[in-house]
């Protein structure tokens, strides 16, 4: 039950950050779970530009993907926040 709650909270956090990025920079980011070769969509924005996706790994389980990273000057800060959110979600 606790694990489900923390995953749910994490998804909420992911969506919150994706919405922030969308509003502030007009860029789409989405979050995936790493399952072998599969990157399984978890949360974030569904619309895409057609540029190739760049995957940034957050930990052994999650990654954040975008094909518009160049639109997001706060990229490093956002990745840092995401990693912290995952860490907090584990505790």
């Amino acid at each position: 039950m606790e694990k489900e709650t923390s995953t749910f909270n994490l998804i909420e956090k992911f969506n919150e950050i994706a919405n922030y990025v969308k509003e502030k920079f007009g860029a789409n980011i989405w979050f995936v779970e790493l399952l072998g070769r599969r990157l399984s969509y978890v949360a974030g924005h569904r619309e895409d530009s057609f540029l190739p996706p760049e995957v940034i790994y957050l930990n052994e389980r999650f990654a954040v993907v975008s094909n518009e990273w160049e639109k997001i000057p706060e990229k490093e800060g956002i990745v840092k926040v995401l990693k912290m959110a995952i860490k907090e979600g584990k505790q």
Binding site: W30, F31, V32, E33, L35, G36, R37, R38, L39, S40, Y41, V42, R46, E47, D48, S49, F50, L51, P52, P53, V55, V65, N67
Partner: protein, 501 residues
Amino acid sequence: MTVVLTKKEKTWMDMVIREEEITRYMGNGRDFINDYEIWEKLKKNSNPAPERIREIIQKSLSIQTLEPDETAALLNVQDPELWQEIFDAAGKIKKKVYDNRIVTFAPLYCGNLCVNNCLYCGFRRDNKVIKRRVLTLDEVRKETEVLAGEIGHKRLIVVYGEHPATGPEYIRDTIQTIYEVKVPTRRGYGQIRRVNVNAAPMSIDDLKMLKEVGIGTYQVFQETYHHETYAKLHPEGTIKGNYQWRLYCHHRALEAGVDDVALGVLFGLYDWRFEVMGLLYHAIDLEKQFGIGPHTISFPRLEPAADTPFVQQTKYKVSDEDFKKLIAVIRLSVPYTGMILTAREPAHIRRDIIASGMITQTDASTRIGIGAYSDRYTEQELERQQFELGDTRSLDEVIRELAEMGFITSFCTAGYRCGRTGDKIMTLLRTGKEGVFCKLNAVLTFREWLDDFASEETKIAGEKVIKKELEELKERVSEKVYNKLLEYYGRIQNGERDLYF
């Protein structure tokens, strides 16, 4: 003579089915296939007016799933000219959703031991003429080396009988083994980038295990949606005899997080119009409960199999004419789904259906005997195979023919490797955006294959198709995207591999 199950087999069978993992998806204790209702709708929608059919066609062209009454109307069309309009629309729909590409793959049969006794199947446990075998992981590796390193496939559908020797743990291990293979090729390397699985219905826990190792699509065919026929063909006391355990396995997969699931019917077991309705109801229930429909739908027809007289005795054989119709109706009914036409069918049928533009996936260089790729046998051996193949042409030959027909062959596996799956891809499919990704990735993966595997003759035909695709893409995408495409294209020509959009 009945084959007696071993104690191990019986113990294993007793543990497979979990009732709660069926009933949790049912409404009021019933499954979503109401045989009476399906026949009533087929009767009610007979003699549809042409205007109504044209309205239905327009709805399909806007990439919306049809209602059962609409599909029933299509199935009742008699006028050949109206059928041609349906065929034309089917081609347009596929082009809109998936553009001009046809994805290719190969089947890899890993084991033909089975505890079930389906009357129509060469692998049924009572069939003594079949040579039984399960591949070791080393043999799976050897098969994959041929598929990825010599033929050039990037996508496999791995097939297993239902048996403790090829249960979920074995399936997991074979998936991992396949993904580990990497073989140097002419200019780059060969590798399987997507492993789809055709296997027995599993529990949610077992499906989660397969999800963890990166399963592509989980494919299970209902065989027939007609309850009474299902019961006759799948003996009581077998796992497969449980209709609802099979019917809800895709629901379990989606709940387990495997968000690419595939449906299918074995046409020839019961009335083909009923079965098309069954497929639609299945897709609708998945959409309703999970917001995700089937990734693909398959429509194999019954083929001869060693010592399997049922195939000759069935009164529901589907004619070639009706086969084309049922494919078109499925295309219109579930317009976003991928549609697979396999080498079960002879070359002339595949040519005709593919030319209509309705299909999204096909296989070639296909061998369905256990261990057949590395054994390199050239004639079919029915005692090693589940059924007889109709088309044994090589991938090189089929690709050349597709190119001459104007289709680009794609080996794309991009979607599931960057999170374009599940409900994310549903939006992209319905809006036609996924088709642009399909087009971009077809060019890149086709370039890889031409450079690593193509004969000179096929390379010439392939280059013409690539040129046309590049010209179309230049008009279709932004300058930024097009320049990125050219950059990736150049890097692939220099030997880099696995670049995608």
